[in-house]
Symmetry: C2
Subunit: 412 residues, 2 copies
């Protein structure tokens, strides 16, 4: 078994196999890998079965881990969709002649080696490899121990297919060392890993931020808010809330917190609560809500900060848009937040002052997604402000360099 | 004395004073601060004097610490130049209508709170405040203990001027706790400091990378290379080398390493060495160089990786552009590197394959600088690939957010 350091260095040593690949070659790799995943589905499922059998972590966890033919086909379709997207590599971002005749050009380039650290979701393995290929990056994958056999099978099938198509696939590397120490080594591979992206639970992300010395992009934790401003149209408000809270509860762009203007709550709280209860949503609420509906359970400070990821919501009455913005900037996770209002000035204030990656007026927070935003695919949703914010597509997996062409210029 | 956490929180609490300031107001703050620095020069010099008197760190260190009227005027001119630059805040980077009628807009926004950690250079204090103002950011400054009185005076004068002009200056905060523990706390203010930029020695930068849990932009270390390809024009080659090595030796874009193609060395090594010696440059060289000129001192592996920052250079003969690129990518610091060549294909290969922030053909590496690149000013030169690469001007001190305007859209 290669050590973590050896694995990372091997990806870096083979970086040129992808960094200087033509778009045609990238597409040939993606196409070969997709076809091979379908052709070897049975082999991958056979390796996935012991991972699933050994897993003792509960139904939701197993559901994410489990692969069948339909899911493998979905993974292959995802790779094929990347073929249609344009590679961002080589794009000229800026071109200027300087005062001294130097020709300055700013060009988009791959990061180099991307590290991905994630949990027991084997689909992430193939997605990350696909995004790396189309963005010209080498990739080092560090999945969970629970999915190691599945990940090994997927990576083997994809690499063999790329090799079979005439390319060197060694810019793709899977870390086999599943120990905690191995993960920590991975996070400190300065000079080898150019950026590390954790994908998964808040715990994984926090642990990566605390331990990594390589640059990290923080992703995903979403305590998303819906705010019903006093002029909100109840006919829009309730469908947006129900969609954001219940359409899919385990995702980072789902709503976790509802804020309501006092007068709007007086008029509509009963109806709002009824709509949530019809969808079996558990409600915890502030004292002002409980003054209207005493049977509501009380919300704690922790509830306001929580990412429930299930059919549960906190509800709080606020005095107006100022308090709503302050509350969201204090308790939120800077992911996605929405105001429902018919007042254009309130909407603009909210859109400008809420400090989140995606800020909405009159639409569900569930739209924060690479596909929905038209990026075509995503490596995760950044909740930090450095480099990329919101959905990270191919463009967000690149850096740039300055190329300066002279004819003997020296500095005076 | 406020604690580090209190200082950082105070900057964040007052963020809206600058984040939502108009460009006119930003300019009024800069103008008032510049005028006040000139008007209070004597007061600042009086506070700088005890810092200088207490300093026992050698002439070069004292030179960077010392302020006089001319230097303070230079600092004020720097602030005034920022008035002419356009603030990047609010720029619409992208605007699209999605398939479902959602209006998606990507808008440039300030980072929020920028942290700067630096050494005993009081000019950085005023520069950083100026750049923060014009990029809409709050700023927390953590200078060196050796410059604490000077920094206090500069910050006090600037803040009083901003207050006098009718604005709240509390988005500017100076950390007074000069202890090592204080610096470490500063590096872990997640949720308060949006990005931390270390400016100074390689040791400071390394220490920040190792200890920070907030996002960091790595700046400045420069082991820059000049490579004389076999078709180089000696009439361009020597002036470029001498300019890059000797025009200013203590800066990160100065040349530290020279690579020479074998045939070019056979023809020109003696002349190159003579030109360097005429400028009192100490040379350490590879065995192939020493076979031509046995009196040259031998270079070690450490020499090839060193940022000398003085009149010293390593010289190595290489077999061609491939070896030159591999050597630079291995030993360099991804800052600025140059090929001198008359062969267009060799130039393009070098420009594409050297993995540095700024890659040159036929020009001095000394041009890697915010002013030279036309950015107008800079907060440092990034040598990492996340977020910003090369000189960081106002634009590089911003992030973006998505604003999405709907009329009731929900996800299907």
């Amino acid at each position: 078994m290669m050590t973590v350091a050896e694995t990372c260095l091997k990806a870096k040593e083979n970086l040129s196999a992808i960094a200087f690949a033509s778009e045609k070659d990238m597409n040939a790799m993606l196409s070969a890998a997709a076809a091979a995943l379908r052709a070897h589905a049975a082999e991958i499922i056979a390796e996935n079965a012991p991972d699933v059998a050994a897993c003792t972590r509960g139904a939701q966890f197993v559901d994410r881990l489990m692969l069948d033919e339909k899911r493998i086909d979905g993974i292959a379709v995802g790779l094929e969709k990347l073929i249609e997207l344009r590679s961002p590599v080589g794009e000229v971002l800026e071109e200027r002649m300087l005062y001294n005749g130097l020709q300055l050009r700013r060009v988009r380039v791959p990061f180099g080696v991307i590290g991905i650290i994630y949990e027991a979701r084997p689909n992430v393995t193939a997605d990350a490899v696909g995004l790396a290929i189309k963005s010209g990056n080498a990739v080092v994958l560090r999945g969970s121990k629970d999915a190691l056999r599945s990940n090994r099978a997927i990576v083997r099938v994809m690499k063999n297919a790329i090799r079979g198509a005439g390319f060197n696939p060694e810019f793709i590397q899977l870390i086999e060392d599943a120990t905690h120490e191995g993960a920590e080594q991975f996070m400190k591979m300065n000079g080898v890993i150019d950026v590390l992206i954790p994908r998964g639970s808040a715990g994984l992300i926090r642990n990566t931020l605390l331990n990594a010395t390589v640059p990290v992009i923080e992703t995903g934790t979403g305590n998303c808010h819906i705010y019903f401003e006093k002029t909100a149209d109840i006919a829009k408000a309730i469908p947006i809330l129900i969609n954001a809270k219940t359409q899919r509860t385990s995702v980072c762009n789902a709503c976790e917190s509802l804020l309501i203007d006092e007068s709007f709550a007086s008029a509509h709280l009963v109806e709002i609560v009824r709509a949530l209860r019809d969808k079996n949503v558990e409600i915890v609420a502030c004292e002002k809500c409980r003054a209207i509906l005493p049977e509501l359970a009380p919300a704690t400070e922790d509830d306001y900060a929580a990412e429930f990821l299930c059919l549960k919501i906190s509800v709080k009455i606020v005095s107006g848009v100022e308090e709503a913005i302050a509350h969201i900037n204090m308790y939120g996770t800077h992911h996605s937040d929405c105001i429902v209002t018919e007042d254009a000035a309130a909407a603009e204030k909210f859109l400008n002052e809420v400090d989140s990656a995606a800020v909405y007026s009159n639409a569900s927070t569930r739209f924060t997604d690479g596909f929905e935003f038209g990026l075509g695919a995503e490596m995760g949703i950044s909740t930090q402000k450095l480099h990329a914010r919101g959905p990270m597509g191919l463009r967000e997996l690149t850096s740039y360099k300055y190329q300066i062409r002279g004819n003997g210029q020296v500095r005076g």
